[in-house]
Amino acid sequence: MAATRPIRVLVAKPGLDGHDRGAKVIARALRDAGMEVIYTGIRQTPEMIVEAAIQEDVDAILLSILSGAHMALFPRIMELLKQNGVTDVLVAAGGILPDEDIPAIKAMGIKGCFGPGTPVEQIIQFVRENIHPERLQVEV
């Protein structure tokens, strides 16, 4: 029954850069793939992102960042998620993420990293395949 429900995704832009075309392209593509996409807009603090993810009870959080502040902001987001007991949400990141940072980003628990030029189909498929299995079998 619950298996057919739409996947809910939060698309968020942490930090101070205002370039959100990429985030909007992703949001639109996920919408067209049948997902419910909550788009928060630019200049989000880690606290705002985590709070939105909790209230919206999303299956996945996609972070878009181009400012270079990812190594400051991502750990804070992951820490806040953990503090709030949110352990079943898929987190992935996109934007300008230097190759040398990627192992560290993945070590934080961010499962996917997508640089410029990634086909949107790849991201859609990644989200579909990596949602925490328990989340899609919610029953009471």
Partner: protein, 320 residues
């Protein structure tokens, strides 16, 4: 499973935001057993003032909701917001963007915002909205603000979900008031003319006042529909709007209308639940193959929809 339910309900009642968020998901997805949860929540609900905010796309509903929430917060109230955006009829997906304009509310533990996709419902809400309101009410939020999808003329479902309905109009949209004439105008308990800093706001308000003055019961009506001008840009008119809403709430309570409206809403909820059940039985009774056969017979004019409906009704045990 039963214990798990009970645990979730208890956490929700004690104010756990994650429990409320999860309950909303379960309600939206109509998981089996949710009715028992809702029955339990019903016992704890009934305290919140439920306010509907509707109007055409772009008139400033989300911005107004943000400002209203801030004003209610200053009055020490815990506020829940349901923001409904449309589901794509093609992909079934949705882009829920109301949070963008509610950014300044983020981080306030006394505010709970949930975006909902309309999921095929055409009345400006989602089918699950009323049940989600129930969960938020039980969790102790008051008021609960429901922002509908941007509406045209006939999306009046909000009147079956809210105690007080606010219709928002913006100036400079030409014959906006004309467009409002039919359905939406009738359901307003309050009118808001937003963007009063823009030219034409006073004229829009005057046109609304004129339309209201045409109502035959204008002089005898116990509630005179107020028209409040607001400017989110300058932060004006919001306190008057909250005052008007509080006045409407008191009016509903004192006149007995609150109970009357609540009862009417509950009746339509019960009807919807029964229809849902009947459809579910029908699905179990008639296999896809039988449907196909029946539909072919009807399109070949060997049978007709009325006698087929009659036959199926009998099989479901419905009285003639």
């Amino acid at each position: 499973m039963q214990n798990q339910n009970q645990n979730l309900i208890e956490r929700l009642l004690s104010g756990d935001r994650r429990a409320l968020a999860r309950m909303v998901t379960l309600i939206e997805n109509g998981v089996p057993g949710i009715r028992d949860c809702l029955a339990e929540l019903h016992r704890h609900a009934g305290r919140a003032h439920i306010i509907g905010i509707t109007g055409s796309p772009g008139v400033g509903k989300s911005t107004l909701v943000t400002q209203l929430t801030r004003e209610f917060r200053q009055r020490q109230r815990r506020v829940a917001v349901i923001a409904v955006d449309p589901t794509s009829p093609f992909s079934g997906g949705a882009l829920l963007g109301d949070r963008i304009r509610m950014m300044e509310l983020a981080g306030d533990p006394g505010v709970f915002i949930r975006s909902m996709a309309s999921r095929g419902s055409l009345g400006g809400l989602s089918a699950a909205t009323r049940d989600v309101v129930r969960a938020m009410d039980a969790a102790g939020y008051d008021p609960i603000l429901i922002e509908t999808v941007g509406t045209g003329q006939a999306e009046v479902e909000i009147m079956r979900a809210a105690h007080s309905v606010m219709v928002v109009c913006a100036p400079g949209l030409g014959d906006e008031v004309q467009a409002l004439k039919a359905g939406i105008l009738e359901i307003a308990d309050l009118f808001v003319v937003s963007k009063k800093d823009k030219p034409g706001a006073n004229q829009t308000a005057a046109e609304l006042a004129m339309l209201l003055s045409l109502a035959p019961d204008r002089r005898t009506a116990a509630w005179r529909i107020p028209i409040v001008l607001t400017s989110a840009l300058k932060g004006e008119g919001i306190d008057q709007l909250v005052e008007a809403l509080e006045r409407h709430r008191r009016f509903l309570e004192d006149s007995g209308l609150l109970q009357q409206r609540a009862q009417r809403q509950i009746r339509s909820e019960i009807e919807a639940l029964i229809v849902q059940k009947v459809l579910q039985h029908l699905e179990e009774e008639v296999s896809p193959g039988e449907w196909q056969r029946l539909l072919s017979e009807i399109s070949e004019r060997a049978r007709d929809p009325y006698s087929v409906a009659r036959e199926l009704e009998e099989r479901l045990g419905l009285p003639r």
